[in-house]
Subunit: 367 residues, 2 copies
């Protein structure tokens, strides 16, 4: 089977056939059809499987590619799907159909929903996550917050995705202090709260930081998957066995209505096959622009059947009001991690606000 890519093209059916053929060559041979031997063209070029009108000057083309061109390599997958044609106009990737051979090579999440449930001991209810912030606090201040959130019963306590190795809270000191604080809280509560530091950095530094996190006792990390390169997700998982929560930093560049990669394909399919155990996205009704339909589509792509690839947790975020979490549980179901940050920090005492949130979610989930 071939990798089938559904492109929405901002042109009429009449023009779309030629445009689809151009994409099929641009993304593989990178030569015009008449400069390539027919044998190589037949074997290597993308194949235009169908072209149809979507009305109002828009068309849909399905192009299939030899999965062997990907080499099981995430940067090359992005390059094949959208590398050169990103520099053209009016081309949107709206869907992907994966051959099992490619899914097996890419592998996907090592823990996924089942693995994160096992680590946290949270069953039959959504998980709650919050962020340590803001940038500018010291490592002891962040650790104190981490302790309070873990005591309150938050399942996952992650670094804000802008915490790197700033002098205010250097990476190693922050990780050791926050992890120790969460472990201490777990000792007091008998709980299994986890601390996920942000390890995003260049290729060498990132793997070093993930190693520091593991040595400190962390069971997972946060990665800004696009700034780091999507291959970072699987590389960290392979090197350390840590769970990966992927952050959508920069992803919005791809979400133009007529050009780019649709949110459910990028944050759903691609972040999942890259190996994310959870994928953070900006929930509808918060301070970003996703519709509820987009969020539902991301959830479906993260959790739905995908050959041998395990399901990943959707992590809606980006300004969810703590008081509205029961509403979102009803919409999204239990296999969701709710990341509530600012809404807790807007309260006089974020820890008390977290306790109220935990109680409300347990009440709502277990009736």
């Amino acid at each position: 089977m071939r990798l089938r890519v559904t492109y929405h093209l901002a042109c009429s059916r009449r023009v779309a056939a030629a445009k689809a053929r151009d994409i099929a060559f641009e993304q593989t041979l990178e030569l015009p059809e008449d400069a390539v031997s027919p044998e190589v063209a037949e074997r290597v070029a993308g194949r235009v499987e169908s072209v149809e009108s979507l009305g109002r000057g828009r068309s849909r083309a399905v192009i299939s590619f030899d999965p062997g061109a990907v080499c099981g390599d995430l940067p090359q997958l992005l390059n094949l799907l959208f590398g050169n044609i990103s520099l053209k106009a009016g081309i949107l990737i709206a869907g992907l159909d994966w051959p099992d051979e490619l899914l097996a090579a890419l592998r996907g999440p090592r823990l996924g929903i089942a693995g994160l449930r096992e680590l946290t001991g949270a069953r039959g209810r959504p998980l709650l996550c919050t962020a340590l912030k803001p940038l500018g606090l010291t490592a002891p201040q962040l650790a104190q917050l981490a302790y309070g959130f873990a005591r309150a019963g938050i399942d996952l306590i992650k670094d804000d995705h802008s915490l790197a190795d700033q002098t205010t809270a250097p990476f190693r000191e922050r990780v050791e202090r926050c992890q120790e604080a969460v472990a201490r809280a777990n000792d007091a509560t008998g709980g299994n709260a986890l601390y996920f530091p942000n390890v995003t950095s260049g290729p060498v530094g990132m793997l070093e930081r993930a190693g520091v996190a593991r040595a400190a006792g962390c069971r997972g990390v946060v990665v800004n998957a696009l700034p780091a390169g999507l291959g970072a997700v699987s590389a960290i998982a392979a090197a350390t066995g840590l769970a990966i929560m992927s952050h959508p930093s920069l992803a919005g560049a791809f979400f133009q209505p007529a050009h780019g990669i649709s949110p459910e394909v990028l944050l759903g399919d691609l972040f999942r096959v890259a190996g994310s155990d959870g994928v953070i996205y900006p929930n509808a009704g918060g301070r970003f622009t996703f519709s509820e339909a987009t969020c539902a589509a991301i959830n479906a792509r993260l959790r739905g059947p995908l050959g041998p690839v395990s399901p990943s947790f959707p992590v809606p975020a980006g300004g969810i009001d703590a008081a509205r979490v029961p509403h979102w549980i009803d919409r999204y179901g239990a296999d969701t991690i709710f990341l509530i940050g600012g809404s807790l920090y807007a309260q006089a005492d974020p820890t008390t606000a977290a306790e109220r949130l935990v109680a409300a979610v347990r009440r709502h989930s277990h009736g």
Copy 2:
């Protein structure tokens, strides 16, 4: 000095002040202003330096950031500039003013224009580059092309950016054969043609491939900088000392008129400070959509003064007609690498076409 970012906002001056303040907080504290202590806000939040109207419902805001937030880290730089706000709308990064402290930390190209001239021995004229393609040829076939191009006097012979580790031409075999072919041609001509393989892959594989390339005798490599993560460029340079030619795969996602990062900032400033010795971009008049003004702006950002950072070679590409190269030399000047691919392959014999091109450029450059 602070890192000053010029944002173009798709809103009137009246709304722009609040939008700028929102960006300043979103990109740093990631909390609303009233949830942060005034001391932390003052120290950590971006500072809105100016807001002015650009007319027709557009505004310009300059926001400055503490360069310490970047930690000399390229993924964190991208995250600070555009991470979360990529998920909002109508925000374009149109300019950057760099503090020397940050430039020194990021370092930029190790070889740059002067270093690549030294490696190739090409002085007082533009360099010529071509690509080994298409995907689907075997390693011996690609090596035969490499030999012919090196014999013809092409300075830089690079892998097509889609060549990864496909079974048709596995990475190690391809690199060893192509490098050997170019060395053999150099022995025959007394020239200094260089072969740059594409090493783009995940963080671990990429550094391994760069090591294989160096061991084979290559002096530089090609990296798809955004799929790999911008930090890959500096990591490979630091680990191997190889020259880096960065390819703009995926970059077009950022080039929407009202939302993203302008081409001259992304491919000019950011690819340069990341350590690219040459930056490939789609030239005006080819099969992509850049205007001549955009190309000139990229050239200026790559070559202009930038504190302690060396100049990088602009590498216009993407469908340049070999016959038009003298025209582009007059437009762009000698400190340019012209990447001519398809136009050579469109001839019956690409090697003979390359010889004609080399002769034309030398005639044109030396009168």
